[in-house]
Amino acid sequence: MYPQEFFFTRDHEWVKVEGEIATVGITDFAQKQLGDVVYIELPAIGTVLTVHQTVGAIESVKAVSDVFSPLSGEVLEVNSALNDSPELVNQDPHGQGWIVRLKVKNKEELNQLMTASEYEKYVESLEV
């Protein structure tokens, strides 16, 4: 259900690391909770982040939620397609709905995150 190569946070962000680049988004569980996404506040390119720092915000018809960075790094790229099509976060949260790409400093931070199966168990416990 959740891509095996992703890592997950307790705040429902996912991160995929390829070499030195990490792509970050929110999970399918999160997008369902949020409802229809209408706007995403994206960070400036070059922003330096520490783990768990706010990297942006997602506004749905119900609420505005912070997006936290799963890893430390520097913002290389933001998904500007989300400006005109915020619904991508709902439609394809693990693919086209990605939010930022970071240049990562410390891959050992991944050890703090959950694997796909751990995250699935975590989500099940929440849905009870």
Partner: protein, 449 residues
């Protein structure tokens, strides 16, 4: 839900249900020693006719015909077409609550949408919110917006911005670490001093706040000031205290304002006791998510029919406190309704005509007043419906004498602007017939001679 007070039988039934003997028992948890046991020091109740008489007497104390008033200074006497009272007092408009459920609030939402559209048209800006409380807090909200957008610690405020607006802004920013620096005005023109602005302008500035027509009645020309501000990467905020001026003067959006805000009382709201009034705010579309309060929008329902909703309502009510753009959580719906009816009744031409009459009458008044040798015009800047005159005699004495003659000649400026000694801010609108202006002139002439 019925709004009828409870009968003693209903109260007894409720108390019985929850197993309580009397209403006082519900307050047992409040310690004896802090309970108020004496009777409240209130006058006895009045009957309806006595109450009506009481307020009528009070009202007579400063209204026409007891007094003929030429007071402006942030609250303006204007004509209110009777249709405004008539329509706004209809139950459907007077009693509904906030339109949280669009399916049952289409009327309210449509009015808010029309109001916002009118504000955009009058200010020349792209988006407006559903209204704020009044002009002073609207100016404060604009300052907070600029601070959030630019994240810089300094705000420049023209000294010719209404003194109470400046006080409210200072209150709003007092805990934020935002610095307010005032920009002085040119004593000859009455306009904000460009030289003083240049002295204070640096990279730390988030915005400039300027009022036009300003508190002294003078119409500013902020074009050059705004260019300087934009070069420094700061925002330009135009404040309008006399909304009717927008019927004749250039819209703020056209002379470079990023945010326009102010007081809408002139649009169909009586002076009352200083309120309820109507704050408005509008801005460029790029700042739409930084607007406080709520924004109504037009959309289509599932069947493709046009409908209205609160498009942006997650400004402070539905999100976490840290993300809120304000604490207002509301708007002045009924006042905005009156303004909407007022503007739609007058139309573009009617509003312009009303504004033009203000201009004409105020200029006539100044002309007649300055023909009196003891009166001069200290500020040469152009004006709309308010102007400053200086007297050769102490203004307080002249004021007292005019009060005895049933006239309130204007606002004494010295306490707010010590440079303007023995000066009065006089406001003349379309409600002042020529005879009333002539009466003021004769009385002042008599008192001064």
């Amino acid at each position: 839900m019925s709004y009828i007070p409870l009968s003693s039988r209903e109260i007894q039934a409720m108390l019985q249900k929850i197993g309580v003997l009397s209403p006082e028992d519900l307050f047992r948890c409040i310690p004896e020693e802090i309970r108020w046991t004496k009777p409240l020091e209130l006058p006895p109740p009045l009957t309806e006719p006595e109450l009506i008489n009481y307020f009528q007497d009070l009202n007579q104390k400063n209204s026409y015909p007891t007094f003929l008033s030429f007071l402006g200074a942030g609250a303006y006497p204007h004509t209110i077409p009777t249709v405004v009272d008539y329509l706004s007092s209809r139950g459907e408009f007077l009693t509904p609550y906030t339109p949280y459920q669009p399916e049952v609030s289409q009327g309210t939402l449509q009015i808010i949408f029309e109001y916002q559209t009118l504000i955009c048209q009058l200010t020349g800006l792209e988006v407006a919110n559903a209204s704020l409380y009044e002009g002073a807090t609207a100016a404060a909200e604009a300052v907070l917006m600029a601070y959030r957008i630019k994240n810089k610690p300094k705000i420049l405020v023209a000294q010719t911005l209404h003194p109470q607006y400046r006080q409210v802004i200072a209150t709003y920013v007092s805990r934020l670490g935002l610095r307010i620096e005032e920009i002085g005005f040119n004593l000859e023109s009455g306009r904000m001093s460009l030289d003083d602005l240049k002295k204070h302008l640096d990279e730390e500035v988030a915005a400039l706040v300027i009022q036009s027509p300003n508190f002294l009645g003078v119409i500013e020309e902020p074009g050059e000031a705004f260019s300087l501000i934009k070069e420094k990467g700061a925002l330009t905020i135009a404040v309008i205290a006399e909304a009717l001026s927008l019927g004749l003067l250039q819209p703020p959006g056209k002379y470079g304002a990023d945010i326009a805000c102010g007081e809408g009382q002139s649009f169909g709201l009586p002076l009352s006791f200083g309120g309820p009034y109507l704050g408005f705010i509008a801005c460029r579309e790029e700042f739409i998510r930084q607007l406080p309060g709520r924004v109504a929008g037009q959309t289509k329902d599932a069947e493709g029919r046009v409908g209205y909703v609160l498009t942006l309502s997650t400004r402070e009510q539905h999100i976490r406190r840290e993300r809120a753009t304000s604490n207002i959580c509301t708007n002045q719906a009924w006042c905005a309704l009156r303004a909407t009816i007022f503007l739609e009744t007058l139309g573009r031409q009617g509003l312009r005509e009303m504004a033009y009459q203000n201009l004409q009458k105020a200029h006539y008044a100044l002309e007649r007043l300055t023909s009196i040798p003891e009166i001069s015009r200290p500020l040469f800047g152009p004006f709309f419906n308010e102007f400053v005159v200086s007297l050769k005699k102490p203004v307080n004495d002249v004021f007292t004498e005019l009060i005895k003659r049933g006239l309130i000649p204007g606002y004494i400026l010295e306490k707010d602007y010590p440079e303007l000694k023995n000066s009065l801010l006089i406001c003349v609108t379309e409600v002042h017939p020529k005879g009333a202006i002539d009466r003021l002139v004769s009385a002042i002439k008599e008192v001064l001679s």
